[in-house]
Every structure is written in structure tokens, then in C-alpha cells.
């Protein structure tokens, strides 16, 4: 057998018998069509998500490859491992040799040191701020300011009196309320303010300890920070952009706040609530139609104090005039006006929102910290003690395309020096200082063997000390002012690249020149690290990112299982219908065999027939899949504002694309599956004896 003519015969036989057995063809064809469609659409979507997610992860934090301690107890999970508690990823004690070794790999564009930590910053209550200003005014003997702040304090106290009068009606804790009312009465008395002039310290202390707690609580804000080489980070992560303020100057300590954190954690609560309603309304939700928005709107007027307490008396006067003009029907003073102003609904929202930012926002502290401010980060060091570090905020940043993703914006950036300090690593200066202290106090390093001798035997270790009559002073001989000054200098002192590189990092991001060559580069980096005898492991961005990175693998697995099941069902159905078709064609096959067709001819004929059907329906299904993906690629698939989706889509919309790869995969898979399922019926067909042709009787 052979030749074009035979092929033509196969085509004619194949197509005609497909046409003749229409029901079978339609059933099997639809299955094959659907199967290919699913493979093409599924893999195209997954491939698109994978590459967009790769962009999100690599551009925002991970780079293409992550390096970390080879002896780490937990695997690195940059976006969280999904388990409670913090992971112990070990540390890279000295980053410089790692950087040197990895940078030497040809495809490596940059190696950026990193370390993630969690700190708190506390935001003061409005009243605290008033009292703080008052303390400053008293210290500066600024009488005009003292008067203004006194007036504001009395205004706040008046509000609190009303509030506590209301509370008294519903609360059973009468004792506490009575005490609060007594304290408030004292603040409102002229006598108190007279006292302030005489003994300011005591009066302010009374305000701090008795009045401040009466107002609502201050907040403890948790801040996740990524210590890094800021110069390298801002240069090498190309989606990074400053949206407010400036980058931290090279060689200086400083912090960059993520736009997401800035807007969602640091912004004034009232502004945040208004923003939230606005964002939802932009998406088409109404306050009346959404339970959450209704709650937010209902709570808004109750937060008026967050505004009124922050106002200077002068500003308060101006605002009162403006609000009265806006809301002439409202009776009462500024608190009532602000409350009325904050009562928003769908009809007045847009106007109120604009008015808030125009009239109120300029007079209040819109953000707890803004570029230019110094904030105090408190974190537990590796050793377990609480460390506070002051750091200047230079700017606010975001990753373009990931503006709405909380995950991408979870990290705030801080310089490597500050990070190491919060982590509890000693700087050379600190080490010198400690040695100095040890020398001064006379601490000796004693080894374990001689510890007992040193403790109980030997010469007099305890020296008789004659205290003077002033008694014991723990601060004697300590230059506190000098200490503070020295710390300040240290914090302000510029540092160079060597200082950034020579020191501890927890992990490091490697950015590649050609990300396509990731596997190859990963191997080269591992080799380089081994050659340099560094106990550092390298892993790709997907596994380094933790749960998020694994997400796509899980989805892919689910898709493949679904495809596998559909294929299995298709296989069984194709198998059955081909067996039925074979039975129907026994006479035909017997005749072919009798007149000289070999078994192989029968086998090929059956496989060819299915192959043609698979190619046609698979091709159509694949084409339909590509058409759908192309249409979606133009319209975009909305992430629905869901954070994880925005992150996976690397933006608010996913624009998937499908190519020849997915089509080939789909069609090949379906052809292989259908041929496999035809094999058995075809083998049955080859066993049909030519003698059956002779036994045909009508």
C-alpha cells in the first residue's frame, strides 16, 4: 500500500463514513470540540494570569530569584505562608560576598538586599495632640497660643460633658462617670486655667492623665516594612514610582510609605470613610443599596470629634461660618454643623465629598504621617527586646499597575541601616560603644571553666564604694544629653554603598536581564553560591512568594484534573461509539478484508477516521477558544476590585492572549486522546474475519 491515491481513499472513506454515521460524528465531534475549547481557553487564561502574576510579584517585591539562608527553618514566603506566626527564614550575615558571587553570573542585572519586619507606630488621640501643643506653648511662654489652646480644650471638654451626660443615662458604671464629670468640671472652671499659669506642669499632667483618656482611644498601627538598598530598589524595580514627596537621598536613612498603607492606614478616619464610599459609588454601588456603605454612612456623623478636636480656634470659626452657609437650617454650633455635614446620602454625597476636601481637609491632619515627618517605629528585635527607631518619611510610592492591590502595597520601604537597627543588629559604632562600656565598668570576659573561680575565689572583686550624701544616682557619670545628641548624629550620618552591602540581610532579590532564562540562571546562581562556599539558597519568584505563588499551580492542577476527567469521559464515550460503529460495519470490513485489505489497512482506516474528526472538531474548538480569548483580550476581564485578583491580574483588568502554543497543545491533546480511545475498537475491527462477508444473507 502507499501513495497519494491510498491517502485519498482514506480521506474519502473517512469523511464519507463520518457523514454517514452523523449521530456518532456529532456526539464525538462535540466532545472533541468542547475538550479542545476548554484546553485552549483554560491554558490561555492560566498562562495569561501566570505571566501577569509573575509581573506583579517580580515587579513589586520578589525580583526573579530570591536568595536566603540555606539553613532557614521555614521556606521563604514573601507574601505570607498562609500560616499564623512569622516565618524563620534565617539570615544572610554578610550580604557583600553574596552580592559579589551572584552579580558575577552573566544574566544577573541586580542583586538587592532585603529584610522584612513588622513594627508599630502609634497615632496620638486628637486630645493628646492638643495637650502636646499646649505643653509646647507653655514651654515657649506663647501666651496667645496658650489662650487659643485653652479655649479649644474647654470646647472639647464641653463636648465631653454632653457626651458623659448621655452616657450617664445608659451606663451602670456610675462611679467612673461621676469621676469623669468631676474632672471635666474642673477643666471648665476658671480656677483650673489660673492654676495653669502658676504650675503649668501639674495642670498639663492632669490633662494628660485625667482628660485625655476620656476621649476615644488612639490607634496602634501595624506597619510592615521592607528594609532594602533603597537606591538599588528604586532603580531596579521598574514599576516603582514616587507619588508624593521624594526618594530617600542616596546614603541617607529614611522611609518610603506605600500608597496603599498611606491611604488605608494613615489617612484621617473620616476622609478614609468618605474615600471608601466614593470608590464604591464610582463602581456603581449606591449607599442605599449596600449594607456596608449604609453602615459607614451611619457611623460618619458620630466621628465629628475627629474633626472638631483638630481645629485651631481660628480655623474652627472659619469652618463654622462656611458650614453654616452650606447648611443654614442646622441649629447649634460647630459640632452640630459638622455632624449634619457628615450625614451623607446618595443625593448629597458628591457635593459633600468635594466640600470635605475643600473646606475641612486643609484644617485637619489628613495623614498621621506625611513626607517630611519623622515617625517612631517600634519593633521587637531578633533578641526579643523592644526597639524604637525614629525615621524620616521622605515619600509615598506605589507600583504602577498595582495601585489597587493591597498585597502589592503591603510593604513600606526603609533603608538597610534602619532595618538592621530594628532587627537588633549591632552597628560597628554600637559595638565600639559596648566595648567601651565594658571597659569602663570593668567587665571581663570569663570562660566557662574559670567562671566559678572568678565568682567565688580569687581577689576582691567587689570594691567598697563610698557614696556621697546625695545618695545613689543611677545616671551619675552618664551624659544623657550627649547620648541623645550622639544618637541623632548617628541617625543623620550619611553612609556609603559599602555600609549597605557589608552587613546583614534576611534575603535578597535577584533581577535578571532576560527573565525567560530563569531556570538556567537559577542553576548558574546556585553554582556560583556553592563555589563561593556561601550557605545561601536560591529559589524562583514563584516558590519564594509563598501561598500566592502556589495559587497558580493549584489552579493549574484543578484545571488539568478537570480536563483529565473530561478527557476520560470523552475517551469512554468515543470508545463506546467506535465499538458500536465497528459492529455496524462488520460486513463492510469483512468485505474489505475478503477482497484483499490487510489488517493494518483496517487499523489505519479507523484511526484515520477519528484523527480527521479530532482535527476538524479540535481545530474548530481551538479556534472558538482563541476567538473567545481574543475577545476577552480586547474587553478585558475585570478583577472586580478584589485585591488578590488585582494582584493576579497585575492590574484591575486581565487582558488574556492566546497563541499558537495553546492551540497546538489543545489540538494535539485531543488527537492523542481520541486516537487512544479508538485504538481498542480499531483492534477489534482488525480481528473481523473475511469469512463474515460470505455469511451475509438478506
Amino acid at each position: 500500500m502507499g501513495g497519494v491515491a491510498q491517502l485519498r481513499l482514506m480521506v474519502v472513506l473517512g469523511l464519507r463514513s463520518l457523514w454517514t454515521h452523523k449521530v456518532k460524528t456529532l456526539t464525538v465531534g462535540s466532545l472533541l470540540f468542547f475538550g479542545t475549547f476548554l484546553v485552549v481557553v483554560g491554558t490561555a487564561l492560566l498562562d495569561s494570569i501566570e505571566s501577569s502574576m509573575a509581573r506583579s510579584i517580580t515587579a513589586s517585591l520578589a525580583g526573579h530569584i530570591q536568595l536566603y539562608d540555606a539553613d532557614a527553618k521555614d521556606p521563604l514566603a514573601l507574601f505570607g505562608s498562609g500560616f499564623m506566626g512569622s516565618d524563620d527564614i534565617g539570615e544572610i550575615p554578610d550580604f557583600a560576598p553574596v552580592k559579589a558571587a551572584v552579580s558575577a553570573v552573566p544574566n544577573v542585572a541586580a542583586v538587592v538586599p532585603m529584610g522584612i519586619g513588622m513594627a508599630t507606630i502609634s497615632t496620638p488621640v486628637e486630645l493628646d495632640q492638643v495637650f502636646l501643643s499646649l505643653r509646647e506653648a507653655v514651654r515657649d511662654k506663647d501666651q496667645a497660643r496658650i489662650d487659643a489652646l485653652a479655649k479649644r480644650t474647654r470646647a472639647i471638654a464641653t463636648d465631653l460633658v454632653t457626651e458623659y451626660a448621655n452616657r450617664a443615662k445608659i451606663s451602670t458604671d456610675t462611679e467612673r462617670i461621676a469621676k469623669a464629670q468631676a474632672d471635666l468640671a474642673r477643666v471648665l472652671s476658671d480656677a483650673f486655667w489660673k492654676e495653669l499659669e502658676d504650675s503649668p506642669e501639674l495642670s498639663i499632667q492632669f490633662l494628660d492623665s485625667h482628660i485625655a483618656p476620656l476621649a476615644s482611644d488612639g490607634r496602634l498601627v501595624y506597619l510592615r516594612y521592607l528594609g532594602t538598598d533603597l537606591d538599588a530598589f528604586t532603580r531596579d524595580f521598574d514599576r516603582f514610582q514616587i507619588v508624593e514627596g521624594e526618594e530617600v537621598p542616596s546614603g541617607h536613612r529614611g522611609m518610603l510609605l506605600s500608597k496603599t498603607f498611606y491611604e488605608k492606614q494613615l489617612k484621617h478616619a473620616v476622609a478614609r470613610s468618605l474615600d471608601r464610599i466614593r470608590d464604591k459609588r464610582v463602581q456603581g454601588t449606591t449607599i442605599a443599596g449596600d449594607a456596608l456603605l449604609r453602615t459607614i454612612a451611619r457611623e460618619l456623623p458620630k466621628q465629628y470629634q475627629r474633626i472638631t478636636y483638630q481645629l485651631d480656634p481660628a480655623d474652627a470659626g472659619t469652618l463654622e461660618g462656611q458650614l453654616r452657609e452650606l447648611l443654614p437650617q442646622v441649629e447649634g454650633g460647630l459640632p452640630e454643623l459638622v455632624q449634619a455635614f457628615l450625614a451623607v446620602d446618595d443625593a448629597n454625597f458628591d457635593a459633600r465629598y468635594a466640600a470635605f476636601y475643600e473646606l475641612i481637609a486643609p484644617h485637619i491632619k489628613l495623614y498621621e504621617a506625611r513626607p517630611g515627618d519623622v515617625i517612631t517605629l517600634r519593633a521587637f528585635t531578633k533578641g526579643g527586646y523592644l526597639k524604637s527607631v525614629n525615621v524620616r518619611v521622605f515619600g509615598v510610592f506605589r507600583f504602577s499597575g498595582l495601585e489597587t492591590s493591597d498585597m502589592a502595597g503591603a510593604q513600606n520601604l526603609v533603608d538597610m541601616m534602619t532595618f538592621r537597627e530594628l532587627y537588633g543588629q549591632m552597628t560597628p559604632d554600637k559595638r565600639a560603644e559596648l566595648a567601651d562600656i565594658k571597659a569602663k565598668v570593668g567587665i571581663e570576659d570569663i570562660d566557662r571553666a574559670s567562671a566559678e573561680d572568678a565568682l567565688f575565689g580569687g581577689g576582691a572583686l567587689v570594691e567598697e564604694h563610698q557614696d556621697d550624701e546625695a545618695g545613689f544616682d543611677e545616671f551619675r557619670g552618664v551624659d544623657l544629653a550627649g547620648q541623645v545628641e550622639r544618637l541623632r548624629e548617628e541617625a543623620a550620618a550619611p553612609f556609603d554603598q559599602t555600609a549597605v552591602d557589608n552587613g546583614l540581610a534576611l534575603n535578597a532579590a535577584v533581577l535578571l536581564k532576560d527573565p525567560e532564562r530563569l531556570d538556567e540562571s537559577l542553576a548558574a546562581i546556585r553554582e556560583a553560591l556553592d563555589a563561593a562556599h556561601l550557605r545561601v539558597q536560591a529559589t524562583d519568584w514563584q516558590s519564594a512568594s509563598g501561598m500566592v505563588g502556589q495559587f497558580i499551580t493549584v489552579v493549574r492542577l484543578v484545571l488539568y484534573i478537570a480536563i483529565f476527567i473530561i478527557f476520560l469521559v470523552a475517551l469512554v464515550i468515543i470508545n463506546n461509539s467506535m465499538i458500536i460503529a465497528t459492529m455496524e460495519r462488520v460486513a463492510e470490513i469483512g468485505t474489505m478484508r475478503a477482497i484483499g485489505a490487510r489488517r493494518r489497512f483496517v487499523l489505519v482506516m479507523f484511526l484515520f477516521e477519528t484523527g480527521v474528526l479530532a482535527l476538524l472538531s479540535g481545530g474548530l474548538g481551538g479556534a472558538a477558544g482563541i476567538a473567545l480569548i481574543t475577545a476577552l483580550g480586547h474587553s478585558g476581564i475585570s478583577a472586580g476590585g478584589v485585591d488578590i485578583m488585582v494582584f493576579l491580574f497585575s492590574g484591575p483588568f486581565l487582558y488574556p492572549s492566546a497563541g499558537i502554543d495553546q492551540l497546538l497543545l489543545g489540538v494535539t491533546a485531543i488527537i492523542v486522546a481520541s486516537l487512544a480511545s479508538t485504538l481498542y475498537p480499531a483492534l477489534i475491527a482488525t480481528r473481523i474475519q473475511p469469512v463474515v462477508a460470505m455469511q451475509q444473507k438478506e
Binding site: R16, S17, R593, I595, G596, A693, M694, Q696
Partner: protein, 242 residues
């Protein structure tokens, strides 16, 4: 004339449940090239079994069959298939055309299986043979568009297209009316006369038998008359139907 078929001491048993049906019980037969032979006998006499053995679609339980000098028992499936393809042509009682192919393609089919002929030569050969059976106007029609007689003509054309040594026909007229049947036998005889192709056909129709040059009579698995002289065997009492 040389012998194209030699059957020697052939027995053929079929298992039927626990019983064994002895379809042929020792048959010796020689058919020479160019003969126009009818195998006759009542139902169950072993006509079809004998034809199947000569047609290489079955092998004997005992004895030997050789076709054009080739012993069939020495051949495997592919060997038998090749023998059928190159030396034999088949005409079936139920025509057995391939329904999805038209007249031309049905007749062309064995040539394609054989291979080795170029398109033009193949076309000429098919058209000539279709013309010989008088179906040129129906060349592009499918079997279901043809009458029974026309279908059997297509089958004859298909059987003859490869130029076989022997054409086997199992009750070729059984599904045709007597006039059409007679025409078919006439056609076969005409082709036999023209090309010298050996025709062996089974029938139980006395009218059809009349056209044969030689009639081999079977009864209960034995040849009772090989058409060349005295009967070979007396017919014993029937054992069981085949």
C-alpha cells in the same frame, strides 16, 4: 489446461456448542484454468464452505487446498490476504459494495490496495471494466442509487478489475429476479469466454446451473458428482445440517 484449484482430502469441521458439524468430509477436486464451474447442492451440503476454502477466507481442518499452485495452509493472514488480493475475485450473494463509495471508487478499491498503478492507468482500467459490465452512465452513483442487478454488475467489475486467476461467486443470483439473474450469469460467461478467467459459483438454481460448463454436485459434505464423469461417492444418510 493447467489446474488452478486443487483440493485434496479436505475435511472441515465447525464447532457448534458441544457438537461438531462436519461441513466437508473428505473432498478431492481439481479445477482447471478457464473453467466456468457451478457448485450445486441443497442447503447445508457444504457449497459455501468449499467456496470459502478455495477463496482463502478459511482454512481446512484436514487436507490441503492450493490456489494457482500455492498451498493455503502454509500461509499466514497476510499471505492469504495477498493471495486473495492478487489471484482471486469475489462476488457475493448480497453484493457487499462499500456504501460510502461510488461505483468508480468501489471498482477502484482493489487496485488501490494493490498499489503500483498510476492514476491514469488505474482510471482507464476502471472505466474499461465498468464499461464492460455496462455501467458507464452510473459511474459516479453510490450503491444505494442502483438496482440489485446493477449492484451485482459493480461487484463483478470489482472482482475482475485486478485481472484475477479465479472469480468466486457465492449464490450470485440469489437476490435477483430470474431475468436479471440470467443476465448476470450471461455476463459472467461472456467475461469468462473473453479473458479466460476461471469462474466458480455456487447455486441451487437449476436454471443458473444450466449455463455452467461443469457442475459439481455436493451433498452432506461430499462430492457426489464432480461434473467430469461418474459420481465419486454414494450419499449416506444425512448426519446433521451445516
Amino acid at each position: 489446461m493447467p489446474a488452478v484449484v486443487e483440493v485434496r482430502g479436505v475435511e472441515k469441521d465447525y464447532p457448534l456448542g458441544k457438537l461438531t458439524v462436519r461441513a466437508l468430509r473428505g473432498v478431492d477436486l481439481t479445477i482447471d484454468a478457464g473453467e466456468f464451474v457451478s457448485i450445486a447442492g441443497p442447503s447445508g451440503s457444504g457449497k459455501t464452505t468449499l467456496l470459502n476454502l478455495i477463496g482463502c477466507v478459511d482454512v481446512p481442518t484436514q487436507g490441503s487446498v492450493s490456489v494457482d499452485g500455492q498451498a493455503t495452509s502454509s500461509l499466514d493472514d497476510n499471505g492469504l490476504t495477498n493471495l486473495r488480493l492478487h489471484k482471486l475475485g469475489f462476488i457475493f450473494q448480497t453484493f457487499n459494495l462499500i456504501g460510502v463509495l461510488d461505483v468508480f471508487q468501489n471498482v477502484e478499491f482493489p487496485l488501490l490496495l494493490q498499489g503500483g498503478m498510476d492514476k491514469a492507468a488505474r482510471r482507464a482500467r476502471v472505466e474499461a471494466i465498468v464499461d464492460a459490465v455496462g455501467l458507464t452512465p452510473q459511474l459516479r452513483q453510490r450503491p444505494n442509487e442502483l438496482s440489485g442487478g446493477q449492484r451485482q454488475r459493480v461487484a463483478i467489475a470489482r472482482a475482475l478489475v485486478t485481472g484475477p486467476r479465479i472469480v468466486l461467486a457465492d449464490e450470485p443470483t440469489a437476490n435477483l429476479d430470474s431475468q436479471t439473474g440470467a443476465n448476470i450469469i450471461d455476463l459472467m460467461k461472456e467475461l469468462n469466454a473473453k479473458d479466460g478467467t476461471t469462474f466458480i459459483f455456487s447455486t441451487h438454481d437449476a436454471e443458473v446451473m444450466r449455463h455452467a460448463n461443469r457442475v459439481i454436485r455436493l451433498a452432506d459434505g461430499l462430492i457426489v458428482d464432480d461434473g467430469r464423469g461418474a459420481p465419486r461417492a454414494e450419499v449416506p444418510a444425512p448426519a446433521s445440517p451445516a
